[in-house]
Amino acid sequence: MSVPASTVEAPGVPRTRPPTRRRGRLPATPMERALHWSLLGVVTLVFAFLVIPILIVVLESFNSADYLSFPLEGWSLHHYRRFFADSAWVEATLLSARIALLAAVIATVVGTVAAWGLARSTSRGKGLVFALLYSPLVIPIIVLAMSYYFTFADYKLIGQWQMVAVAYSVMGIPYVLVSVSSALQQFDPELENAARTLGAGMTRTLLRITLPSLTSAISAGALFAFVIAFDEAVIILFVAGNDSVTLARKLWDSVRYDLTPTLAVAGTILIAVCVGLFCLSELIKTIRERRERR
C-alpha cells in the first residue's frame, strides 16, 4: 500500500483487520520447537525490561526506609503521608492538573474544528494546514522549549500557568487532529447534507448530527492531550519561573538534589493518573467498538 507523500496516514482506506489468523499448529520439528521457545524467552525478557522499572517506582513509594533501597526495608505509607502533608507537593500536583485540563480543552476545541475543516475542505492548501497542525508532534521538544522560553521571556510571561497551558495545548493538537480525522473518515458527510436539506442550520447540523458521532474520538484525543500536558517535563524547566512549579518540575528539581522515596510517591501519582486515563480511553474504545458492531 503506497502512502501519499503529503500525508502521514492513508485516508480513505478503512482499517480492516486481516482475516482471523489460524492458530499456528504446534511446532513439529525440534528446530521449530527450539525457535519457538527461544522467541518466547526473548519476548518474556523484553516484557520484563519494559515493566520492571515502572513497578520499581511504585514499590519504592511504599518503602519504609528513608532512602531508596531494593529490596525494600519494609512496607509503609509513611512517604504518602509525608507527600500529602507537604503543601509544596500538593500544590504542584493541583497545578499540574489545572494546566493539563486547560491545555486539553484548548487542544480539543482547536483540533476538532481543524479536523472537520480539513475533512470538508477541497482547497489545495489543506496539506499545508495539516502539516502546520501536525508538526508539533515531530519537532524536538527542546526546540519548542527554547521557542517558548525566548517568547515568554520577551513578553514577561514566565511563570504564568495559563500561558504554560497554551504552550502545552499546541503539543496536544496533533493527537486530537489525528484521532478525530480518522473518525470523520468513517462518518458519512451525506448525513450532514440530509440534515441541511431537512431545514437544519449549519450550526445545528454540526452540533446535533456531526458532533455526537465523534464523541469517542474527541474524548480519546482529549485524554491524550491531558496526559501530555500533565507529564511534560522539558518546556516547564524553562518557563516555570517561581510561580508555575508543576509536579513534573518539582520531581525534576528533587531528583537532582535529593533522592528520597517521596519522589517515588510523586512518580507513582504520575503513573497512576496516566495509566488510569489510558484505561478510561480503552474503555471508551471498547464501548465504541461494541456499539459499532450492533
Binding site: 501519499p4 522499572p53 519504592e60 532512602y67 482547536v110 477541497t122 521557542s147 524553562f238 519522589l263 495509566v275
Partner: protein, 299 residues
C-alpha cells in the same frame, strides 16, 4: 460508497483528478469550512509559528546580526563532539529498540487476538508513563544500591553502579523508545497474510528460510522506518541524558539548555536548536514517506 470516496475522500493536500471539479455539496456554506480552517491556523500562527520563528531569528540576530553563531558552532570542536555523542547515542538506541522490538511485535502479531490485546497493555502502559518518571526509575535501578547493580555485582566484581555512563543512557532511552518500534512493526505484521510463510513451507522451504525469504522482506519497511523514527526522536532527548548520563553524555539538547541556564548565551542556544530542528525535520520527511504514525494514537 465509491462516489463518496472519490469526491470527498481526498488525502490532505491531494488534488482532485485533473479536469474534474469537486462538486460542492448542496447548501453547504463554504464560510463554515473556511472558518474551521482559518481559526486553528490563526491560533497556531500566534502561539506556535511565531515563537518558533522568533527562536529561529535569534540564531542570526543575537548577539549581533549575521551568521556569526553558525561559524562559531562549526569551528568549535566541542560542538562537533556533542553532535557525535548525540548521533551515536540515537543510533545505538535505534538499533537496540528495533532488535528488541521486532521479536515482541512478531510474537504479538502471531498470538491470539485476546492475548495480544492484554500483552499490548504491557507495551502501552510504559508508553503512557512520563519520561521523567522512567528516567527516575533507571536512576533507582542503576544506582549504587540499585537492583541491576546488585544483580550484576557478583558477575563484574564491581560495586559501582552503571549510573552516569553511556550504557545507562542507552539502557534508559531504549526503555523509553522501545514501544514505538513494537507498535509500528506490529501494525505492519498484522497486515501480512499468514498463509504466505505457510505456502513457502509447503513448497519445501525450511522454517528459517520461509521466515527470512518470505516473511521478513514484507516487514523491512516498518523495521527501517520505526528505526529512523526512534533515531530522530532520540536526537532531541533532553531529560534522560541530563539525569542518567554524566558530563560525557552531553547531547545537543543538554548543551542547548546549558547555554541558556549557565552561559546565558541565547544566540548559541538558538543556533544549536535551529540546527537540531533542521536535522530532525529533514529526517522526519524521509520517515514520513515510509511510515504511518497514525497507529500510535488510536491504540
Amino acid at each position: 460508497m465509491t462516489a463518496r470516496t472519490t469526491i470527498t475522500r481526498l488525502p490532505p493536500g491531494g488534488d482532485p483528478a485533473p479536469g474534474r471539479v469537486a462538486p460542492r455539496a448542496r447548501g453547504r456554506r463554504p464560510t463554515f469550512v473556511t472558518m474551521a480552517l482559518g481559526l486553528p491556523v490563526a491560533f497556531m500562527a500566534i502561539v506556535y509559528a511565531y515563537p518558533v520563528g522568533k527562536m529561529l531569528m535569534k540564531s542570526v540576530t543575537e548577539p549581533k546580526a549575521g551568521f556569526g553563531n553558525f561559524t562559531e558552532a562549526a569551528t568549535d570542536s566541542t560542538i562537533w563532539d556533542v553532535l557525535w555523542v548525540t548521533v551515536r547515542l540515537s543510533l545505538e538506541v535505534a538499533v537496540l529498540t528495533v532488535v528488541l522490538g521486532f521479536p515482541v511485535a512478531y510474537f504479538l502479531a502471531r498470538t491470539s487476538a485476546r492475548k495480544a490485546r492484554f500483552l499490548s497493555l504491557l507495551v502501552v502502559i510504559p508508553f503512557w508513563t512520563s519520561i521523567l518518571v522512567r528516567s527516575f526509575a533507571w536512576i533507582v535501578l542503576l544506582g549504587d544500591n540499585g537492583l541491576v547493580t546488585k544483580v550484576l555485582d557478583p558477575l563484574t566484581g564491581d560495586s559501582q553502579g552503571l549510573l552516569y555512563s553511556e550504557s545507562a543512557v542507552v539502557i534508559a532511552m531504549t526503555h523509553i523508545l522501545l514501544p514505538f518500534p513494537i507498535l509500528i512493526i506490529k501494525g505492519t505484521l498484522d497486515q501480512i497474510d499468514a498463509s504466505l510463510p505457510r505456502a513457502a513451507r509447503s513448497l519445501g522451504a525450511g522454517p528459517v528460510r520461509a521466515f527470512v525469504q518470505v516473511y521478513l522482506p514484507l516487514a523491512v519497511p516498518a523495521i527501517v522506518s520505526s528505526g529512523m523514527l526512534v533515531f530522530v526522536i532520540g536526537l532531541g532527548f533532553y531529560v534522560t541524558p541530563a539525569l542518567v548520563g554524566g558530563p560525557k553524555q552531553s547531547t545537543i539538547a543538554v548543551v542547548i539548555a546549558q547555554n541558556v541556564q549557565v552561559n546565558f548565551d541565547w544566540g548559541m542556544a538558538a543556533t544549536l536548536a535551529t540546527m537540531l530542528l533542521v536535522l530532525a525535520t529533514a529526517l522526519t520527511l524521509v520517515v514520513r514517506r515510509l511510515t504511518k504514525v497514525k497507529g500510535l494514537v488510536s491504540l
